[in-house]
């Protein structure tokens, strides 16, 4: 786990990171399952691509080789480790 917990929601756009951990207890069972199915897992590379800024809309992120859209609340449950390069 990262020393300073940073969620996917706070991750700056285009900043590469890896998934540090996921707070499963903050997600419903179907949400958690779908996240796993979409490949969200510790250690996987992740990056925020787009944010629908108006009024806190969803975010689009790259996970592995896939682009996935999710709502901010779910993004807030995903902890990330930014990669320093």
């Amino acid at each position: 786990m990262a020393t300073i917990p940073l969620s996917l929601e706070q991750l700056p756009q285009r900043q590469r990171a890896t998934v540090a951990g996921i707070a499963w207890d903050r997600l419903t069972a179907p949400e958690g399952r779908r996240l796993r199915e979409l490949g969200f897992d510790e250690g996987v590379g992740i990056e925020v691509l787009h944010r629908a800024r108006i009024g806190g809309g969803p975010i689009a992120c790259r996970i592995g080789r896939m682009t996935v859209a999710l709502r901010r609340r779910v993004a807030g449950a995903i902890h990330v480790d930014p990669l320093t390069s």
Partner: protein, 618 residues
């Protein structure tokens, strides 16, 4: 004789499964329904290189064997041999996206573990290369222990190789390749890690290139330009539906008129002739003339889906839809409902969550469909003064816009209420894969359009034809005795019903003539225009609309006219919408609920309008 071997196409969503299905079967396919669920069964026939026929089944895309929607449940039940009305497939074609191996291989591992003969179609091989990914299909086959064939379904590449391999798999007596790898039965995280290892082993090199999907997305998902682009797309779509659809719709209506005229020439005047011309031909014609508009609408929907843009539109609209408890996915079905609620409700199938989907179906009729336009045009033209309230802004146009806005506002309020009451439940949220942009193939579009047209025509030929004939009978029986001064409409069952229920509508300003016109409007809303004509004993050959307008002016107060318009914003019409709701929700419960709540809303809205207008002295 043994039936042809059954082969199932399985894969993640966005793996290009349906394109592969179309490439393998061509036009020889059939769309049906699984018993008891609203999941479409896509089946087709293909011939193996040695001439043997194979029945091919296109199963709904899913991420795993743990279903989270009815579609996904069908997929799991078919491949495990527990789906009612389907035999266990003899072999499986697993379709994987070549540029997304990490993710798609996990599901592949689950499918291989089932023990059925498997061939993997490494699809969209060209797109992976475009993305700078070099793969080794042989290494992948070694790791997985099953044959792997690179394919490009949209360009029909690799199809022959796939058929050759399939021929080996479905040969009786051929040993299925079974592996007893313990990891195959492991949990999802372990499978995922194993999938990543295999993907790594099968990847020769990976050159990072700037993917143009990302470049397009930086415009399509842009908070300003993206929204602008979406509005341009919608504008073009509506223009096409209303203008390009109008001419063929008129041609079809003309064709049915001609047919009715022909029958009138060759048959003597009788009840049977009236049944054929006024009942069957007029009724079915009134519905089929919407086919061009429905097809144009579906053309746009299919292009938007296949190109990958639809998910972007959902992304942009998710925030607004979330505010009433829906997801971005509901946006397109609701949009389609502005043309006609029937294709709108049919396209709610893309919504995974059952409760989201149900709510969307229930509010779809509140979007002002094109059938309401003739009614609005007539009444507004007759009753609202043609004055300018601002430069370039006429009062008539303003009232029209107001009616559209009333519908949308009503839909949002209803959604909000439904999500807290009858369709209560945890929102599934909005979590979806955004596929790469792709040029849709003409063949896939044509096949998609054809299957939509078939479903629509089948319904027009059965349910709708039946109900229009019932309505015809209600207006034609009992027959007026010869020499009576009473008109047929007034004497008929419908006329008597109108007389009976009229007191219930009197408080909201509706007279008996209006109530009577509402009965045939159940078949199709715009029929009420013709019905009013009949009631007012005007020859309603529809070019007499100015005469109609004058009659309305004489007989209706402005308050009544406004109440009538408000009724049409919310009214539970038409039969086609009710029928398609029954089909899509699998029973009479939800269509009954929809009709009731719309009726209450329509009554209240018309009533409040009438009372306020009367108070204002209109």
């Amino acid at each position: 004789m043994n039936p042809a071997p059954l082969v199932a196409l399985v894969g993640n969503p966005n793996a290009g499964k349906s394109a592969l299905f179309n490439a393998l079967t061509g036009a020889r396919q059939k769309v049906g329904n699984y018993p008891g669920v609203t999941v479409e069964r896509h089946a087709g026939r293909m011939a193996l290189p040695d001439g043997r026929p194979v029945e091919l089944l296109d199963l709904p895309g899913t991420y795993s064997l743990e279903p989270s929607s009815p579609d996904e449940r069908v997929t799991r039940d078919v491949v495990t041999g527990t789906q009612a009305g389907e035999r266990l497939p003899d072999a499986i074609i697993v379709v994987v996206d070549a540029s997304n191996l990490d993710n798609h291989l996990r599901f592949t591992l689950q499918l291989i573990a089932l023990g059925l003969p498997v061939v993997v179609a490494l699809n969209m091989f060209d797109l992976a290369e475009r993305d700078g990914l070099k793969l080794d299909p042989e290494a992948l086959a070694r790791e997985l222990g099953v044959p792997v064939i690179p394919t490009v379904a949209v360009r029909k590449r690799g199809i022959d190789d796939l058929k050759e391999t399939l021929a080996d798999l479905v040969t009786p007596g051929a040993m299925a390749l079974r592996r007893s790898d313990p990891v195959l039965h492991a949990d999802i995280a372990t499978l995922q890690r194993r999938a990543r290892q295999i993907a790594m082993a099968a990847t020769i090199s990976e050159t990072p290139v700037r993917r143009w999907t990302h470049m397009l997305d930086s415009i399509a998902l842009h908070p300003v330009f993206g929204v602008l682009l979406l509005f341009v797309v919608l504008f073009v779509m509506f223009q096409a539906v209303f203008f390009a659809g109008a001419a063929p719709a008129d041609a079809i209506a003309g064709g049915f008129d001609w047919l009715a005229g022909l029958v009138k020439q060759v048959m003597p005047d009788s009840i049977l002739r009236s049944l054929i011309t006024d009942g069957a031909i007029a009724g079915v014609g009134a519905v089929i003339k919407f086919l061009p508009q429905i097809l144009i609408m579906f053309f746009f929907i299919l292009v938007l889906e296949a190109s990958g843009y639809m998910v972007r539109a959902a992304f942009l609209m998710d925030r607004i839809m979330a505010s009433v408890g829906l997801s971005g996915r509901a946006f397109i079905p609701l949009l389609s409902s502005f043309a006609c609620a029937v294709p709108g409700i049919m396209s709610t199938r893309t919504i995974e969550d059952e409760k989201d989907r149900l709510t969307t179906i229930l509010i779809a009729p509140l979007m002002t469909c094109s059938a309401r336009l003739p009614v609005y045009t007539l009444v507004i033209g007759a009753m609202i003064p043609n004055v300018r309230v601002l430069p370039f802004v006429g009062l008539q146009g303003l009232v029209m816009l107001g009616l559209y806005i009333m519908g949308v506002a009503g839909a949002f309020v209803v959604a909000l209420v439904l999500r807290r009451t009858v369709t209560k439940g945890a929102s599934s949220g909005f979590m979806m894969e955004m596929p790469k942009y792709q040029l849709p193939s003409v063949r896939d579009l044509a096949i998609g359009l054809w299957s939509r047209a078939e479903i629509f025509l089948k319904r027009a030929g059965t349910t709708i034809a039946f109900t229009t004939i019932v309505l015809w009978a209600m207006l034609s029986f009992p027959q007026v005795p010869k020499g009576s001064a009473v008109s047929q409409v007034n004497y008929s069952v419908a006329g008597r019903i109108a007389n009976t229920i009229e007191p219930a509508f009197r408080p909201i300003g509706f007279n008996r003539d209006i109530v009577l016109a509402l009965i045939p409007a159940m078949a199709a809303r715009e029929v009420s225009v013709a019905a009013l004509g009949t009631v007012y004993a005007i020859d309603s050959s529809s070019d007499d609309e100015s005469k109609m307008a004058q009659t309305l002016k004489k007989r209706w107060s402005l308050a009544t006219a406004l109440a009538f318009l408000m009724w049409f914003v919310f009214a539970p019409q038409c039969i086609s919408t009710i029928a398609v709701t029954r089909r899509e929700t699998n029973g009479w419960k939800w269509p009954a609920f929809m009709v009731s709540y719309l009726f209450v809303l329509a009554y209240m809205a018309a009533g409040i309008t009438y009372w306020l207008a009367t108070l204002a002295g209109l």
